[in-house]
Structures are given as C-alpha cells and as structure tokens.
Subunit: 125 residues, 2 copies
Amino acid sequence: MDKALILFAHGARAPGWAAPFQRLRELTAARRPDVTVSLAFLELMTPSLPDEVAGLVARGVREVTVVPVFLGQGGHLLRDLPQLLEGLHTAYPGVAFTTVAAVGEDPGVLAAMAEYCLSALGATV
Amino acid sequence: MDKALILFAHGARAPGWAAPFQRLRELTAARRPDVTVSLAFLELMTPSLPDEVAGLVARGVREVTVVPVFLGQGGHLLRDLPQLLEGLHTAYPGVAFTTVAAVGEDPGVLAAMAEYCLSALGATV
C-alpha cells in the first residue's frame, strides 16, 4: 500500500484515553482496506507523527493524509502540526503530505455531537 | 427554565478554538428551546463550570446536565470533572446534577468522525 491515513491526536497520560481513537482507526480502516490507517500522537503517547511517518515511508508509502482528531483548532493545530509537517516535507521530499481541518470543524461531526448532547437530557449515569 | 444543559470543554489560548463548541451550543439550543444550553470550560477560557452553574442556579435552574465535550476520557474527566461536580453537589444540595460519558465515546459521533476521515482521503487543503 503506497497510501496512508494518519489520525493525529493529542495524547494523554491515562491509557484509556486512546480508546475512542483506536475505535475510530478500526472503523476507518475497515472501510478502506487499500489504505494503511494508523494513529499518531502529539505528546504523552506513542508513536509520534514523525516516528509513524518514518515507519510508513520505510514500508513504501508515498502519500500521507493527516487528519487532526481534535475538536478545536488551537495552538496544537495552528503551530505544532504545521511545524511537524514542514519537517516531514523537508525530510521526505518524495512523499506527498495532505492535511485537512480538525474533525470538530466538520458539520457532520457537529451534528452527531448535537444529537448526543440532546440524548443526554434524557439519560443519567 | 428550570433545566440546563452545560457543554463542558477543555478551553485553549487561541480564541478561535471555541468556534466548534459555540456552533455545537447553537445547534443543540435550537432543538431544545425549553432548556438553557450553555458552555463552560475547564481552563484557559471562561466561564468555568462553577461560575456557569452559579449563574444558572441564581436564575432558578434546578436540573443541570453536564456533557463533557472531550474526545477521550483522560485525567480531566476521570479526576477534574468529578471533583468539580462533587463541589457543586455540596454547594447546591437542591440542584440535581447529571453527567454522561465524553462525546468521543458515542458510537454516532465516532461514525461521523470516521466518515470525515474517509472523506479526507479525497480532499486537499
């Protein structure tokens, strides 16, 4: 497979934090068996984005799409991710990198979150 | 209105970070005009959860549902939010507080995020 999709998330100290991201990776990978779908983290969890890209490129990947699995676009996406991508462009001039807006900016994701918020009004934990 | 829904988010330094949360609030409020829907933040943005609850209670709210608008359940939801809710229970014994799992744990939200990830494979920014 020469194409990869990296789901790029923040990372956290609690190991269970990554569970929804792992489910998201599985859901996405199941729909596109022709693409390598993997996770990478900004901090506190591994692999980092550069480490994940290094492994993919070593396996022959030449097209990498990075989806920021963040709700808001703050400093991590305005500064940290562009810097990481600039470093990757320089390190791998033969690889095409693409990125998109954070998942939280997507109208479909917002609509699903609104449904969940509404359902919470009838639920208790 | 004696019922409120608080969308509880992390907060960030970049003011634009809150934009999706504001849209989420509007989407949710439009569907439940009988409920006060507001935002509250853990840090870096205002209002805090205690400040927002104080205002709501002063306006007569007696039922508060808190939805954590977080993707993963890390320390903020495992420790910080329960501590905040415990303080609120103590401060307002006449108010019923309810909370639910993080939005990122919801299957509908995960499915919408997977769709977005898949669509990114055909998009460029």
